[in-house]
């Protein structure tokens, strides 16, 4: 075992941990229930957490993330047993079908999260300060790849940690989608049938759990992904050594890890059938899984809020000399706009989920009509975040598009100020449109009209972006390496998302479209065009900056040409069946509707997209070690990070720079964006 490569050692321990956890859970469950239940939820839960812990143990040994996960397991059990003990003293029910009772699981999940943070070391410096001990200003990371599995205060390391975690969560979300997409390939139930059993759920329940988790895992993946890109890039682009609050930055990342574990644990603890929206009263009647889902989202929200706070402070306070508002890299404008939303709206989804948690745990009647509550109130609170959230997801991606276009077109970004302001415009108008998700909800019907006006307003700043991009392309000298292909793909796919938006915004047409596959097609277009494509573009573009090597162009182009047409076919088919009457979130559809062929095509397209992402992952991990060397200004960019060698030095710039010109003046003889200040 000692001589094995760490990755293989990790995978062996993943399997061993899975088996060990399974029997541990089985044993505990049998101890309490008195009989062996081989599909016991506790066995599944332990199988998950112990196998993941085992993987990291094999990879890096007992430290960092491994210690965090061990602490999380112990903390969860400690919290659970504590509440169970209290309940025993009070004469309440102590154990249920999920081993612990619901309140015990919730408290256990919370204690487990805090234990993770203590175990991983994200709180160490603060503990020391509280005890009056001093800590070094900068921690030096160990060299090599092990630093990525430990707490690091370096924004570049944290950026990579975020990005890798995001890809891992994306993988789970994608595989869940493939499972239920396979079920949908033909009408009637094929394998997720009513006699199917997994983790105490029958096929239909399992379908709903996978579908709901797909939604939320993808959202968390996107939040982690944009945090990764912003964390890695922003200090570098604005000439700062690090983020404004490095310890808070590490905390923001690490708190997302136990949150992801909690979200996944919902799969094993009875699942939930509410979709990612978790509307009560359905969510008050769902199995235990919905509580783990609520708790996971609640905790992930902290990551978002604190990360946004840090980013705004960084851009506000730590820019290089001469970097005035309109000489900021355009990506920084997008990051600011997105952070304003995350900082001020995330609280609302946390609050809405927390209220349902309390309704379930403490019998409070917030959304229960029988107790004077109102289920529509939940929808207002929920969408007040969850609509602006979609701009959180896409604004950084649109920023990446605006940032990279000038490099590959060799021309200035057309209308820089308008593009910058359009990001802020989208962010601000985005706060006033939430109720367009509720046109059929039964809220006051006259309210629908003002929300229609505000919603359609979003089209105006979005249009400014499109027109400016096209004008940037006009009369350029366009080259199309892989990152540029993904930029162009992003523009086209986001255009499809944008154009399918207005029919959802005008109330009368939305009354037909609401809760159909048209919506599913529409938002997958906006998410792929606004996030997935630009995210891949950013990875292909900045990969050399992080590693000193570039990813294979050949595989990158294969990835692009496999993914883009498949994806467009997928969403066109979604929109078509949606218009014709296909509802969202159903495990089965009526064969009489004649959608079988369309769904088969969608399933094939989904597998092709999956294949293309596998190619990407191979390219990504293979190129880290074996990619072509690329240490200089590979893309011939004016941006400061490309004026220094790759990979980036530990504290970014050995010499500070000052801004002496416009960021995107490509084609202007003798102009420069930045100038390094030489020490005399």
């Amino acid at each position: 075992m000692k001589n094995m490569k760490p990755v293989w050692r990790g995978l062996v321990l993943l399997a061993l941990g899975g088996a060990l956890g399974y029997f541990l859970g089985l044993g505990l469950d049998a101890l309490v229930s008195g009989s062996a239940n081989f599909t016991a939820p506790l066995a599944g839960f332990f199988s998950l957490v112990v196998s993941v812990t085992g993987f990291f143990f094999g990879l890096v040994g007992y430290r960092g993330v491994t210690r965090g996960l061990v602490f999380q397991i112990i903390g969860t059990l400690a919290g659970g047993f504590f509440v169970t003990g209290l309940r025993a003293l009070m004469g309440l029910k102590t154990f249920g079908p999920f081993f612990f009772t619901e309140p015990a699981w919730v408290v256990g999940g919370l204690v487990g999260t805090l234990s993770f943070l203590a175990g991983v070391g994200a709180l160490t410096d603060w503990f020391k300060w509280a005890l009056g001990e001093s800590t070094p200003e900068h921690h030096t990371d160990e060299p090599g790849w092990q630093k990525y599995f430990n707490v690091s205060l370096d924004h570049k390391v944290i950026g990579v940690q975020y990005t890798i975690t995001s890809i891992a969560v994306l993988g789970f979300g994608g595989i869940f989608a493939l499972i239920f997409r396979t079920e949908l390939a033909a009408s009637q139930l094929q394998f997720l049938t009513t006699t199917f059993q997994a983790f105490d759920q029958n096929g239909l329940q399992f379908y709903n759990t996978l579908m709901s988790l797909h939604g939320m895992l993808m959202i968390v993946s996107i939040l982690l992904g944009i945090a990764g890109v912003m964390n890695y890039l922003i200090p570098m682009l604005i000439g700062a050594q690090d983020m404004a609050f490095p310890r808070l930055n590490a905390f923001s990342f690490w708190i997302a890890v136990p949150a992801a574990v909690l979200l996944l644990s919902a799969l094993f603890l009875g699942g939930f059938d509410t979709g990612w929206t978790g509307y009560p009263p359905l969510s008050t009647r769902s199995p235990l899984g919905v509580q783990m889902f609520f708790l996971g989202v609640f905790i992930a929200g902290w990551s978002s809020i604190l990360g946004a706070l840090n980013l705004i402070a960084t851009v506000a306070r730590m820019r290089a000399r001469g970097m005035t508002a309109f000489r900021l890299p355009i990506f920084a404008w997008a990051a600011i706009a997105t952070s304003i939303i995350s900082l001020t709206a995330t609280q609302l989804i946390g609050l809405s989920f927390q209220l349902v948690m309390f309704q379930r745990l403490l019998g409070m009647g917030f959304f229960d009509p029988a107790k004077g509550g109102n289920p529509v109130l939940f929808q207002h609170l929920f969408w007040f975040y969850s609509h602006p959230a979609v701009y959180v997801f896409v604004l950084p991606g649109l920023g990446v598009i605006s940032e990279l276009l000038p490099v590959f077109v060799r021309k200035p970004l057309f209308g820089y100020r308008w593009v910058a302001m359009s990001s802020l415009g989208i962010a601000l108008v985005g706060f006033l449109v939430w109720a367009h998700h509720m046109f059929t909800s039964g809220m006051n019907e006259y309210l629908r009209v003002p929300f229609m006006y505000s919603t359609l307003l979003v089209a105006v700043p979005t249009g400014v972006k499109f027109f400016s991009w096209v004008a940037t392309l006009w009369q350029g000298k366009i080259s199309t390496p892989t990152p540029m292909l993904f930029v162009l793909g992003g523009i086209v796919v986001f255009l499809m998302g944008g154009l399918s938006g207005p029919p959802n915004a005008t109330v009368s047409t939305d009354l037909h479209l609401h809760d159909t596959y048209f919506i599913v097609g529409h938002f997958h277009d906006t998410m792929f065009g606004g996030y997935i494509f630009p995210f891949f573009a950013a990875i292909y573009y900045w990969f050399p900056k992080a590693t000193g090597r570039r990813m294979s162009e050949k595989l990158g182009k294969l990835h692009f040409w496999l993914m883009t047409p498949s994806f467009l076919v997928l969403t066109f088919a979604m929109m078509r069946v949606g218009l014709l009457g296909m509802r969202r979130r159903i495990a089965d559809y009526d064969p009489a509707l004649g959608f079988d062929l369309s769904h088969l095509i969608m399933t094939v397209a989904a597998y092709l997209i999956f294949t293309s992402v596998v190619i990407f992952l191979y390219n990504f991990f293979h190129s880290m070690k074996h990619g072509e060397q690329a240490e200089g200004n590979l893309w011939n960019s004016r941006s400061p990070e490309w004026q220094v060698p790759s990979p980036m030095p530990v504290h970014n710039y050995d010499h500070a720079f000052q801004v002496v010109g416009e960021p995107y003046d490509y084609g202007l003889e003798g102009s420069k964006y930045v100038e390094f200040i030489k020490h005399k």
Partner: protein, 334 residues
């Protein structure tokens, strides 16, 4: 200048082709209600605008990629221009007018779908996991199939027994959520005789996909005949216990989960239930006698039939006579 002219012509050609393509591909279900007319009219206007805007972006984008591509061996940068304020104002102002126009038309067509006919026929709709019940208050008739007369506005007063559901018949276009604890309204004027399906559009739990009901739009004469026959049936049914039981289980949506023909639903079937041996989740077996059935209705969580452990049946309040009527009906199901 030459570039602009070529692009302008291509945009027009492309817009026309896109719209013709969309228009001929049959994007909407059959139009079967008066309320669908303004909706479809706005859809059409949306498709025209989408075709134009799609072409307006895609044509210059693809044109640039072809004409302004970097040729092999070429070095140097593109033409240097940073922006054009007049152009930016134009493409801010014109879309602003267009979207405000759409908002106005959206409000207008919404108003059209909400036109009130004071003579509308009221139907009380009750939704529950995973069944629909329709009650015609004028005659007291209760049905699990929604019959509607052609050309007459129906006012559906809808409420839910448990979670949020949504009323949607794609051919009628409009959709309305149904909430527990209050009543929402839905006005529809069917214009086309035929059979349609009502599908719950708001995720309502495990069997959401199967929360369907038949909708039959019939001529007024056929409707009156159906109504008279059903009213007569109801009067006759009220005289016997099993008849009253049948009315009760229809009214309360029991048949949404419990089948009468032995097929597996969300709950156990009632076919041949009475007197049979039922296996429970704890491994024991009981005889389905009157006491067991009564307990299963009034305290559904007391005993679980094997294979249905995860199902939460709603709790019902019935009088002893009503329970006796329902059991009398269940006895006849074999």
């Amino acid at each position: 200048m030459r570039h602009f002219v070529i692009v302008a012509i291509l945009v027009l050609v492309m817009s026309t082709l896109t719209y013709l393509g969309l228009d001929s591909s049959g994007l909407l279900p059959v139009q079967a209600s008066e309320q669908a007319v303004p909706v479809d009219w706005l859809f059409n206007l949306q498709f025209i605008t989408i075709s134009f805007l799609f072409s307006l972006i895609i044509v210059p984008l693809v044109y640039s990629l072809v004409v302004f591509r970097r040729r092999p061996g070429e070095t140097g940068d593109g033409k240097h221009f940073e922006g054009n304020t007049a152009l930016e104002i134009t493409w801010t102002a014109i879309p602003l007018f267009i979207v405000m126009g759409f908002a106005y038309l959206g409000a207008y067509s919404l108003g059209e779908t909400r036109r009130v006919d004071p003579q509308a026929m009221v139907v009380n709709v009750t939704a529950q996991q995973f069944a629909w019940t329709f009650e015609y208050p004028d005659t007291g008739v209760v049905s699990s199939v929604l019959y509607l007369p052609e050309g007459k506005q129906a006012l559906l007063k809808m409420t839910s027994r448990d979670v949020i559901h949504s009323f949607w018949v794609p051919e009628f276009r409009i959709k309305q959520d149904i909430l527990p604890g209050r009543t929402t309204e839905y006005r529809i004027t069917p214009t086309r005789v035929g059979d349609y399906k009502l599908r719950c559009a708001e995720l309502c739990g495990t069997s959401h996909a199967y929360m369907l009901a038949d909708v039959k739009v019939v001529s007024r004469a056929d409707f009156d005949a159906w109504m008279a026959a059903r009213a007569e049936e109801a009067r006759a049914a009220a005289d016997t216990p099993e008849g009253r039981g049948k009315t009760l289980v229809t009214q309360n949506g029991c048949l949404g989960c419990h089948s009468l023909d032995g097929t597996r639903g969300t709950g156990p079937t009632w076919f041949g239930l009475y007197g049979s041996q039922v296996s429970l989740s704890d491994g024991t077996t009981v005889t389905a006698d009157e006491a067991f059935i009564a307990e299963s209705i009034l305290q559904p969580q007391a005993k679980f039939v094997a294979g249905y452990e995860t199902i939460q049946m709603p709790v019902y309040q019935f009088t002893d006579e009503q329970i006796a009527d329902i059991i009398a009906f269940i006895k006849t199901v074999k």
